[in-house]
């Protein structure tokens, strides 16, 4: 455990039948062996001789001027190596993805309870804990901002005094057609306000890492991250280091879901390693710290008006969004922008007025979370769609089908949809499923004191970075000196399985079985920059780059083998597991022999891929464009929740769930289904049980006994169907599957509850208390919604 070399991963399964990897097969995940045996080494598993434990003193107050830090008692604790504050940082002491507004260690004031005030280095965990408790912060409390709407009002306390827009991080405005004026032309209008809560990522591996400063001045940081290449730049800038002296090594994270998109422990660990006297340093946030200091899905307040013609043709949408981004930008502006782009769902709506604000508050930090703003607005638009269907007396599937975008149509922001679009197929498949066709029978067979409802929702999810920020990947594939194929992954696999899919892609092109393949996980010194593991982009973007690199290497191998066999050309040669065969004669040369005829520089092939961007100029501001609007590639889905509500307790239970998704062609059905199932489970937690209690900036639910994520006995039976529409720009026709499934559960459940009870709960999660309250206040009468 002391030997910290960062190996290549061998992926062979001795007991599995060996055959060439191929696209479309449910190949077992190539990381599974190491993970089921406990051998997989996560960032949290790095220790080492003479280890220093690093920990953080947190503010514990939501908004206060920091007048001083007294650590005189803390440094006297036996076993303390150093106590570091902002005065020990020689760089910018700021981090952030778009706007660099988050201090590594606070130098002026605390802006939320999780702010880092001091960094303690200790020989052991006991001393560390004791010293952290002894640090005293001299705070002058300030009034706080705990609500996004209030934060925009005149006279509200300011989170960043230097921000010209007060507490406004970003305001986005989009108008299409005649905007709000179109309401006059509608026959029917529905109106509602929805409130969705903060959601905790709740990955099982909390933020963790390990770092050391080598004698040559290089800072090595092993961490649980989605963004190693961006981390390197952030760490270097915040600490005032040359980026080439920072190396970020990214093992498989133990879950991430957006919560590790951006630095968590990285800069703190780097700072600690600069002051540990050459000793390795470990930091591993405990669960409470992860809750308090980690990012969350933005809480949102959403005002909706949706109008249609009498035949159900959508005509007008007016939306106002307030996203609580907490004290720092993180990715709050980008999240808001995606919300605006998806505010009208996957529908044709010719006239729209969309306005949104990302607002600084002293609440926990809002950031990236699977779905990324789309989850919130899908919850709203899919509920107003059901309200509209009811008002029109229309079947909710038919209303959606009538307005569903097809290829060539425009989305509600005026973007022409040019990618493959399987929304209609998704909705039609759903409508032919027994859960929909037999919904009435199922509902009418509810037991005593139970009511049943069936709800649906559709969704789309843009993937990639949008029109301005380059969305690229650089793949590197090597024929190793012993004749194996080594794939250098530039994008992190936080559990979604893209590392395995990468081997499947390269193995399929190069005709190799898994035992012939090796993998190098993201490492800024060994793999090539390929962007973040986020935005449903990983396999799409890196996969396209990888196809290019693998094809190049394949041609090189075949050509060299053809030359060796004096064949007329590479077309006479074929790669088979471990060898190249001359097809006319059947003669073979093993790769480990053939490689002797390669110069080292020829053994490596690289390929750059940059994702296509929207060609449309839809007239949005440069700032909104920079934040990612519009996208050009979308995945689609439709889902159904069959829900039973207990009249006496208000508790809603999802009995069955159906998801039909269009994520292009499926490269590995097993991994595809995992992504859908997992997205649904997170979405159901968001719908029903995950309630982050925050009181004046303080989180009251800081563990799994109070913040309730779904268990094995909570997740219903799930049917998941892939509508495989080939996407011409995707690797083997694929689109991203990472996020789409998370968006549907909340609105589908809310629509099912409304179907069951005749009342609607506008605030999520739909806890038993909220449902019962709504039900009781409605006098247990069936009413119009």
């Amino acid at each position: 455990m002391n030997d910290q070399n960062f190996d290549n991963k061998n992926t062979s399964f001795s007991y599995l039948e060996s055959r060439p990897l191929h696209i479309g097969a449910s190949v077992p995940r190539l990381d599974a062996y190491e993970k089921v045996t406990g051998k997989e080494k996560y960032a949290a598993d790095y220790y080492g001789e003479n280890l220093v434990w690093a920990g953080v003193k947190r503010a514990g107050v939501p908004h206060a001027v920091l007048r001083g830090i007294d650590f005189s008692s803390a440094v006297k604790v036996p076993g303390i190596v150093r106590v570091l504050t902002h005065e020990d940082i020689t760089g910018s002491n700021r981090q952030g993805v778009i706007r660099k507004d988050q201090p590594v260690l606070v130098n002026d004031k605390a802006r939320h309870c999780g702010d880092a005030i001091a960094l303690v280095l200790a020989d052991n965990k006991e001393s560390l804990k004791e010293a952290l408790d002894l640090i005293v912060c001299d705070f002058e409390p300030l009034p706080g901002v705990f609500d996004s709407e209030q934060g925009l009002r005149n006279g509200a306390a300011l989170v960043h005094e230097d921000n010209a827009d007060g507490n406004r991080l970003l305001k986005g405005e989009i108008k299409t057609g005649s905007g709000s004026d179109a309401y006059k032309e509608c026959d029917v209008i529905v109106e509602a306000c929805f409130q969705t809560q903060s959601q905790e990522h709740a990955y099982l591996e909390t933020e963790a890492g390990w770092a050391r400063l080598l004698a040559n001045g290089k800072l090595e940081i092993v961490c649980s991250t989605q963004t190693p290449f961006r981390d390197r730049m952030e760490v270097a800038e915040a600490l005032g280091l040359d980026p080439t002296l920072v190396r970020i090594i990214a093992p498989y994270p133990g879950g991430a879901f957006g919560g590790k998109d951006g630095v968590t422990v990285q800069t703190l660990l780097g700072l600690a390693a600069l002051h540990s006297g050459g000793r390795p340093v470990k930091m591993w946030w405990n669960r409470e710290e992860s809750f308090v200091s980690g990012t969350k899905r933005h809480a949102a307040l959403m005002y909706y008006q949706l109008g249609a013609k009498a035949d159900g043709t959508l005509h007008f949408l007016d939306v106002r969004l307030y996203f609580d981004t907490g004290p720092y930008d993180h990715l709050g502006g980008v999240v808001l922008t995606l919300a605006l782009e998806h505010a009208g769902g996957p529908y044709r709506i010719p006239n729209a007025q969309l306005t949104g604000w990302a607002v600084y508050t002293n609440n926990p930090i809002g950031g990236a979370f699977r779905g990324f703003g789309v989850t919130q607005v899908t919850a709203a638009v899919e509920q107003v769609m059901d309200m509209l269907a009811q008002k029109l007396g229309m079947d909710p599937v038919k209303l959606r089908l009538k307005n569903a975008t097809k290829r060539g149509d425009r989305s509600c922001v005026g973007k022409t949809m040019v990618c493959s679009n399987g929304l209609v197929e998704c909705l039609e498949t759903l409508s032919k499923h027994d859960l929909w066709k037999q919904a009435d029978d199922w509902k009418s067979s509810a037991g005593p004191f139970k009511r049943r409802g069936v709800g649906i929702a559709a969704a789309m999810q843009g993937s990639g970075y949008g029109p301005v920020v380059p969305d690229y990947a650089n793949a590197k594939v090597e024929l190793t000196s012993d004749g194996k194929i080594r794939v250098y992954c530039g994008v992190v696999d936080m559990g979604q399985g893209n590392a395995s899919t990468n081997l499947q892609i390269a193995g399929s092109i190069l005709g190799q079985e898994s035992g012939q393949m090796e993998l190098v996980l993201p490492d800024t010194d060994r793999t090539l920059p390929s962007g973040s593991a986020s935005a449903s982009r990983c396999t799409y973007t890196f996969g396209n780059a990888l196809i290019g690199a693998a094809e190049t290497l394949k041609q090189r191998i075949l050509q060299r083998a053809a030359d060796l066999f004096m064949a007329s050309g590479p077309h006479e040669m074929a790669l088979i597991p471990g060898s190249v065969r001359h097809l006319p004669t059947g003669r073979e040369v093993p790769l480990f022999r053939l490689v002797k005829f390669f110069q080292d520089s020829e053994r490596i092939a690289v390929h750059h891929f940059r994702a296509p961007v929207a060609a449309d100029n839809i007239g949005v501001s440069p700032e909104i464009k920079l934040h990612g609007l519009p996208h050009t590639l979308f995945s689609f889905g439709a889902c159904l929740a069959a829900v039973e509500v207990d009249e006496l307790t208000g508790a809603a239970e999802v009995k069955r769930f159906l998801a039909v998704s269009d994520c292009g062609k499926v490269l590995n059905p097993q991994i595809y289904q995992q992504q859908i199932h997992g997205g649904i489970a997170q979405g159901l937690g968001y719908a029903l049980s995950e309630k982050l209690e925050v009181e004046k900036g303080r989180i009251l639910t800081t563990g799994f006994s109070t913040y309730i994520i779904p268990t094995a006995s909570d997740v219903p039976e799930i049917d998941s169907i892939a509508v495989e529409i080939y996407e011409p720009t995707g690797p083997f026709g694929l689109k991203g599957v990472g996020e789409i499934a998370t968006n549907g559960p909340l609105p589908a459940v809310a629509n099912a509850v409304a179907d069951a009870l005749g009342i609607r709960v506008f605030e999520s999660p739909l806890t038993a208390e909220r449902i019962l309250e709504a039900f009781a206040s409605n006098g247990r009468q069936e009413s119009s919604i």
Partner: protein
Amino acid sequence: MKQAIALTVNGDVYEVLISPNQTLLEVLRDKLGLTGTKKGCDLGACGACSVLLDGEAYLSCLMLAVDAVGKEIVTIEGLSEGGDLHPIQKSFVELGGLQCGFCTPGIVMTAKAILDEEPQPTEESVKKKMAGNLCRCTGYKKVIESVMSASGRMGGKQ
């Protein structure tokens, strides 16, 4: 004050110097280097640290190391025999009962305890008994399928 104890882990006896307030999880990971057992919450609420003590599943974060003296401790590192995966591990690999894998050692050890106690469980029974092991990635469907498949693979025997 530190004290020396002997722990039997995966058939090997380890003599280790510990503080009396150290948990079994801490000693397994920090002292013995058995990092296959994971820490997810350190409060007994997630199941990632599940290990077997005399064949029963325990949360090693809630147990003091001194209380494990004299017991046969089995961790994920000790489940496979020789180079062969245990049938439960094989099922999880083949059926994809894992994604990020951080909860997996705890889930596999709990599955072992479930199948030892009830070799042919119903799906409902597995879901109930697995409810103390949180997984944030998979939605549990393939986890449950893996346990059911392992039950079949083991012939309903222990």
